[in-house]
């Protein structure tokens, strides 16, 4: 599907959608959104780009294979769950900074867990789709 309009559009849509997905991730704890939806939106951004420009060029932008996002995401989630054990609290206890950070808002272990989910979702979706797309 070679369309000059779509190709040009995705050049701008990709960063905007990614930004939006990150926005969804951050606001998840207070408003509709979260790591799962955020991850899906980010995947859609890349999928859209790949539909317009071909999967190979999207892979070039990504730099790494999307499958490598899966262990990174799982590791972040697991660490955020285990972190309270360092403070002698049972695992999975929510930890929060006292003061909100400008722009981002409150930061806690739940946010890092969500970040892990976000990365895993991107990794999983892109791995499945791109593996199938590249299979000749």
């Amino acid at each position: 599907m070679k369309s000059a309009i779509l190709q040009t559009a995705t050049r701008y849509l990709l960063p905007i959608l990614l930004l939006f997905s990150f926005f969804l991730l951050l606001r998840g704890h207070y408003f509709p959104g979260g790591g799962f939806v955020g991850g899906l939106v980010a995947s859609i951004a890349f999928v859209l780009h790949s539909l317009a420009n071909g999967t190979a060029s999207t892979m070039k932008i990504l730099g790494y294979k999307p499958i490598s996002l899966i262990p990174i995401g799982l590791a972040i989630s697991t660490v955020s769950i285990m972190l309270p054990m360092l403070f002698n609290l049972p695992p999975m206890t929510g930890l929060w900074f006292e003061e909100p950070i400008p722009v981002i808002g409150m930061i806690g272990s739940a946010l890092f867990f969500d970040l892990g989910v976000y990365l895993v979702v991107i990794g999983v979706v892109l791995t499945i789709l791109f593996t199938i797309a590249l299979d000749e």
Binding site: S43, V47, I67, D114, V117, V120, V124, I128, T131, I132
Partner: protein, 769 residues
């Protein structure tokens, strides 16, 4: 005590990285594990002999009642000493026996695993812990029997043993849980107090039935005995350790352990007496026909296990004393005979007693060990076996008067067979002239013949000082089994009485039988004619039937067409749901209480129906898929109308991606040809409509169920208080139920890896071609 159980497990897992190292001269370290453990338990002998018990409790899964509780009493100590003591001999022996074997490290890994598991079984004070270790012994036995994994018969035997003992394990678990629930505790030492409660409970017959199946399968009682001769495919050190001295006695241990808890009833005694009595005579006769040394020993082991079961069935103090002594007697002489067999096999490469003879000339110390063991097994005065045999007759003679004669006769006949079998294994290969083929055999390394010799000498020494041995080792064992003071005094000389006469008569008759009985392969073949009737053949047929049924079932229900699977799954769900709906009674719908229909809902439903029509009637797959996603988007709109923005967003993105995925896959499929006939179409339509109707009914029904909102109220109230979040859906995902989410992401990851590897793998193999 925990460390003694863990020592083997830890070392066993260390052998994975250090396997190469342990194949070198460092293997000398291995036997020191059982040595240390043995010394540990020997140190406990004096205090246990005074009647002290040691208890160690470690929380494991307290919420399920599974704890690593260990308790050392007389019964546990005897078994722990056997496991570590015979284990020491076996480890020294096995190190030489398997020197240079490529799986040397693996062998000792399994053996250590087994030792730990077995210690766990006899020390556990929690029936669920006991069960876990019980299963571990079955598994390690499976690996050890199948150790020569390039031999098909080895693998088959391993599988038979595992299926029989594993099957018994299931029954045992059921029995244990039943008993634990009725008694209200899973702690064995607390169960002792529940004897009354359990024995009068209506489920008591079921409990002991299940327990018996577990014990009989493990201890090779008829009709489950046949796995044990097959298990002799294992390397000889394994046969000596697992399949004569320790593991097969786990069933006996179980019966002994539960005697004070469940025993003492007629049902208990008679079942054990019948099964044990039949097994002991059946196996003793069978042993006489064998020509393979290991076969003789296997059947005489089954017979000895039958004797133990029988004695526990008698249940009198005299019988329990006899059992506690016979466990030790048998372990000593049988392990020796097995190790001797191993040496013979190692040196001559045959175990056929019709070929072997005269080996005393080339293997003198081995002969001494074998002779001592055979004599102990025969119960010659001054050996420990003599004491054991006396006690057995003592027990049968002082049972119920009406039965005395028959029970004693049974015991005498069995012992005659055992005497002859012992001689066949321990004396026959060494007697007579040395064939020229064996003349250049020379004595193996001392580490091979010293262990059996030491055990054999113990068998003699214990017989010389039975009072001390009984006092230190068997007295508290008998007390622990009987649950009362048994007043044991072992003596060499009881005076000239009926027991002594019987003992001498047994010895004489056994010797005579040994001289007369000439086992040969033709006789063995005669016996083989009855194989069709044997329990083994019946089990085989059952297993084959199960396999055939599985094949039939698979062909019938798993034909490989996705549409067929869908049809069956949906039909089944329909039936189940319809039945449940029908059970819940008539549905009355109060249309007034529903929210009024709005115009935009009507529009969406119209779009939905249009999309549905396109899906069903479309000529191309792509059109169908796109229409499916139209339905998905309509759903999203519904979610938005009913204020579920999180759901709507997720559904929307998922639908988009699913469509992309569909398109990618469809692109690779061949062109669409419609195979479906009118009738099939009608059938599918009916199934689909039925499913839709049922789900609609359920949805309506749910509306009129009493509305319980406790859970959502809890999350609504606590989301901000406990988790500092205002979006309840997200708070549930990342805080309240974070473990679920984590594992869901893991599942997703596995799915991605699956797709990735499946497709990549195919690419790789096509690249090769």
């Amino acid at each position: 005590m925990l460390f003694t159980v863990l020592a083997g497990l830890i070392t066993s897992s260390l052998l994975i990285p250090f396997g190469k190292l342990i194949k070198t001269k460092w293997s000398i370290l291995l036997p020191f594990i059982p040595v240390v453990l043995f010394l540990f338990y020997v140190m406990h002998v004096p205090s246990i002999a005074e009647g002290t018990n040691f208890v160690q409790r470690v929380n494991w899964v307290p919420s399920l009642g599974v704890n690593l509780d260990f308790r050392l009493d007389g019964l546990s100590l005897l078994f722990a000493l056997l496991i570590t003591g015979v284990g020491t001999a076996i480890f020294f022996y096995g190190r030489t026996y398997l020197k240079g074997h490529i799986y040397f490290d693996r062998f000792f890994g399994y053996l250590l695993l087994f030792m730990s598991a077995m210690l766990g079984v006899v020390l556990a004070d929690n029936i669920l812990t006991l069960f876990i270790f019980w299963e571990l012994t079955s598994i390690s036995s499976f690996f050890l029997i199948g150790f020569n994994n390039d031999d098909k018969s080895s693998r088959d035997s391993a599988l038979t043993a595992l299926s029989i003992t594993g099957l018994g394990g299931f029954f045992l678990l059921a029995g244990l849980i039943l008993a634990g629930n009725i008694a209200g505790t899973f702690v064995i030492s607390e169960l002792f107090m529940k004897h009354e409660v359990l024995t009068i409970h209506p489920l008591y017959p079921l409990i002991i039935g299940l327990l018996f199946i577990g014990a009989f399968t493990k201890s090779a009682q008829f009709p489950f005995h046949f796995w044990l001769p097959g298990a002799m495919k294992a390397p000889t050190p394994v046969s000596a350790y697992l399949h004569s001295a320790t593991m097969v006695k786990a069933g006996i241990y179980l019966l002994a352990r539960f005697t004070p808890i469940l025993g003492g009833t007629d049902l208990w005694s008679i079942s054990l007496m019948v099964v044990g009595g039949f097994t002991m005579i059946f196996a003793a006769v069978h042993a006489l026909f064998r020509i393979d040394l290991k076969g003789i020993l296997a059947y005489s082991t089954i017979s000895a296990l039958g004797v133990l079961t029988f004695l526990l069935g008698l249940g009198t103090p005299a019988a329990i004393i006899a059992a506690s002594v016979f466990i030790l007697v048998h372990a000593l002489y049988k392990a020796t005979l097995f190790m001797v067999t191993g040496i013979i096999d190692h040196e001559t490469h045959t175990r056929d007693i019709s070929v072997l003879s005269g080996l005393r000339k080339v293997l003198p110390p081995v002969f001494v060990a074998a002779l001592l063991a055979a004599l102990s097994s025969a119960g010659l005065p001054l050996t420990f076996g003599f004491i054991g045999k006396d006690l057995i007759y003592e027990a049968t003679l002082h049972f119920n008067e009406n039965w005395t004669i028959w029970l004693t006769l049974l015991a005498v006949l069995t012992n005659v067979g055992l005497v002859a079998a012992g001689f066949m294994a321990g004396i026959k290969p060494f007697a007579g002239k040395l064939p020229s083929a064996f003349s250049n055999i020379h004595l193996p390394y001392p580490s091979l013949w010293i262990p059996p010799l030491v055990l054999a000498i113990f068998g003699l020494a214990f017989g010389l000082v039975p009072g001390i041995i009984g006092n230190y080792f068997n007295h508290q064992t008998a007390n622990a089994i009987a649950g009362i003071e048994t007043d044991m005094h072992l003596k060499i000389w009881h005076g000239f009485n009926l027991v002594l006469i019987l003992s001498m008569a047994t010895l004489l008759a056994g010797t005579l039988l040994y001289v007369v009985n000439k086992p040969s392969s033709s006789k063995l073949q005669m016996l083989a004619r009855f194989d069709g009737l044997s329990p083994q053949a019946i089990f085989r047929r059952l297993a084959r039937g199960l396999k055939d049924f599985a094949l039939f079932f698979t062909r019938r229900f798993h034909n490989g067409y996705l549409r067929a699977y869908h049809l069956k799954i949906i039909l089944f769900a329909e039936l189940l749901l319809a039945y449940k709906l029908w059970l819940s009674g008539p549905i009355s719908i109060d249309f007034d209480s529903l929210t009024p229909l709005s115009w935009y809902e009507v529009v969406i439903v119209a779009i939905l129906i249009g999309a549905l029509y396109i899906i069903v009637s479309a000529k191309s797959r792509l059109a169908s898929v796109v229409s499916t996603s139209v339905i998905g988007y309509c759903m999203c709109l519904m979610f938005v109308f009913y204020s579920a923005p999180d759901l709507a967003m997720t559904q929307f993105t998922i639908d988009t991606l699913t469509t992309v995925l569909f398109v990618l896959v469809l692109y690779k499929l061949p062109g669409f040809i419609n195979f479906t006939s009118k009738t099939v179409l009608m059938r599918d339509a009916l199934v689909a409509l039925g499913f839709g109707a049922i789900l609609s009914l359920i949805a309506l029904r749910v509306l009129f169920e009493p509305n319980t909102t406790e859970i959502s109220n809890f999350y609504g109230e606590n989301a901000y208080l406990l988790a500092k979040g205002k979006n309840v859906v997200n708070v549930i995902l990342v805080d309240f139920r974070v473990a679920d989410t984590l594992f869901e992401t893991v599942v997703l990851s596995i799915a991605a890896l699956g797709v990735y590897s499946l497709i990549r793998l195919r690419l790789k193999s096509s690249e090769k071609e």
